[in-house]
Subunit: 386 residues, 2 copies
């Protein structure tokens, strides 16, 4: 793995916005619902040369933390660790940030993203070049089927089919088993070329899982994800002995420490890798590598995020051959009413092409960041184009 050296640019500017972006519909998951708006935190690091690097924290209150916690981590606690430092001190800065505030892995991922974006712009290299070699030109996209209104998802499935998307993930466990099985059968029968994944987001009790997961496994699925509570490793391990379909962990595995335990204790066949859980692009890579070293598979997951966080995940996966099951960077195209990026998030024939421009490749539109801001410089709420 040969990674480019980070440039010596000194960081002289540091700005943080808390943005609330309208979404087009409602998403139900085992652990909670997202509707109305998605809230993200945007970090801008400015270098002495005037170049800027951007990063996004995409928190989910029931999963990783609140947007307020991410905002405070970045605005108050990380700022003094970053201002005046050099981009080349990334490892030291990220280590200090990890120790300064517990949790807030989304804020740490935002900081790492902004450091790599600024590094890339200064060096004229893509962000992935600091993480290793490019192992792929594009990443197959999986889109989630998560509306409580299946008519809305039927329309989405038509759109996905037309767009060349060939992987869908059904969100289950938020209504009842019959609704889950009915939707799987519908997709399988109507879109036979579509690979189907089933994700319960901790939505089942142990007893429900022991009954429902084996039946679902009979439908020819790619994998089944996180049927039970994050801490219920015993049921995960039991389910593995009952089904032939790979059982993946999401909420159970945030960082390297968790995948280490999952491997040692044998309660999953694969893992959802997310920079918002791992706390940096490198820690996300490490999760995938540790998983692959033990024969476990991995896909690149997302939170409720904009194209900016999608870009960070894309660059991470571009340099991580161990992530073999595609990515889920669908929010910018299929869920947000309007993305924050100045150009559309890359998409081509059902996949995400890896950007090769400097840094992440696309900047956020600052007028949109200001316009959607509920807190931050320019004094949101909502002073569009301050």
């Amino acid at each position: 793995m040969t990674a480019s050296a980070l440039p010596d640019e000194t960081i002289t500017g540091y700005d943080v916005w808390h943005c609330a972006l309208p979404v087009t519909g409602r998403r139900d998951h085992g652990i909670g619902t997202v509707a109305g708006t998605v809230e993200v935190i945007i970090l801008r690091l400015t270098g002495e040369s005037g170049l800027a690097g951007f990063g996004e924290a995409s928190p989910w209150t029931v999963f990783t933390g609140t947007p307020e916690a991410s905002f405070a981590a970045l605005e108050r606690y990380f700022r003094p660790l970053v201002l005046g430092r050099k981009v080349s001190e990334r490892d030291a800065i990220m280590g200090e940030a990890a120790r300064a505030v517990v949790h807030c892995t989304e804020a740490k991922a935002a900081l790492d993203t902004a450091l790599l974006d600024l590094a890339g712009k200064c060096a004229g290299k893509p962000a992935w070049s600091f993480l290793g070699e490019k192992c792929r030109e594009s990443i197959p996209l999986s889109c989630s089927i998560a509306s409580p209104d299946f008519d809305a998802d039927r329309a989405l499935l038509e759109r996905l089919q037309a767009d060349g998307v060939r992987i869908v993930k059904l969100k289950g466990g938020f209504r009842d088993h019959a609704f889950d099985m009915e939707r799987i059968a519908y997709i399988r029968d109507r879109y036979p070329a579509m690979a189907i994944r089933l994700d319960y987001n901790q939505g089942l009790s142990r007893e429900q899982a022991l009954r429902q997961v084996p039946e679902a496994a009979g439908y020819g699925l790619d994998f089944i994800e996180q049927p039970v509570a994050a801490g219920d490793h015993r049921t995960m391990a039991e389910l593995r002995t009952m089904i032939d379909v790979p059982l993946l962990a999401d909420e159970s595995v945030f960082g390297p420490e968790d995948i280490q335990r999952a491997i040692a204790e044998g309660w999953c066949d694969g893992v959802s890798v997310k920079i918002m859980k791992a706390g940096s692009l490198s820690r996300a890579q490490q999760v995938a590598r540790m998983a692959a070293g033990a024969g476990l598979s991995a896909y690149g997951g997302d939170m409720f995020e904009t194209g900016l966080a999608h870009l960070a995940g894309t660059h991470m996966i571009a340099a991580t051959p161990e992530i073999t099951l595609g990515c889920e960077f669908y929010q910018a195209r299929y869920f947000l009413a309007e993305d924050l990026l100045a150009e559309p998030f890359p998409f081509s024939n059902g996949a995400i092409p890896v950007p090769d421009g400097p840094g992440l490749g696309i900047d956020p539109d600052m007028e949109k960041v200001q316009g959607y801001a509920v807190n931050g410089p320019g004094n949101g709420p909502g002073a569009r184009a301050a």
Copy 2:
């Protein structure tokens, strides 16, 4: 265990303050330093009768979370789960709060405390009466020796001796091994009646711990606490085989889920029980009970908190016979420049007498809460007596 029934009082008022209180000195710990101010979040629930219940969240950024995260959990996310509900719905409310926001155990503890304080005031019963029977009249106090300036701690030791305090906990692992051993020897030689505990707060690497902990164990200590990182269970287990002194877990054990694992895997002899880690008084009790069921010991720890949180811990321990190693509710008396309570936090001859008045027994002084507020109603920063 017979606990009183909770009253039917409806909650009609809900206010949250973020306060910053000056402290008299500096405290060094393995994982971080506290100096200048301590930041806590105060919750006031008002019942339909006009009575008010108070609770405190005492976060530590490097350990449980930031004050901003606790404030947001209480101000934005828990408020709709509480307003209009009855105090008697405590279990349901606490369950919903646990699921609504990850982490933020300090905010959850504040909510539980305020519910029990209000319940007690409505019913004319002490808060402990809702948690079981009173098992003790007072709790022996342990005070921490944590100043980087040992001269300051020499003066504190004289004061503790005069006050009848007979337990001290030395904070180690923040400078060097010689400094730790020198201070232990000083206390042991000069105050032979003083029980000594040693707490590293994760301050040692594995290699340091394997060398230093066995030597420290030769000094006749009560116990040694959390020498290594919270997740380093392997080194904890190894150290247990090397020393005759009980090895206690603090940062490694937050709630029942963690003590369950500690018992199953055998990496500690006892546990520090804190409502700010467990997320409620009942969950803290449960940790102590599970520990005792497996032959492990427990003491009642604190965070950087005011007398209000001390009171919550005191009521919890009053009804928890499994906590046999005393408590550490020393901040109000020995560390804060001024406490928030309207009367001095109870203390008598080296111990904390259990209050028997309605609720927690003492209210915060609202003029002080307003005066130390940096955020909350009355529009801090710092509008004393708004």
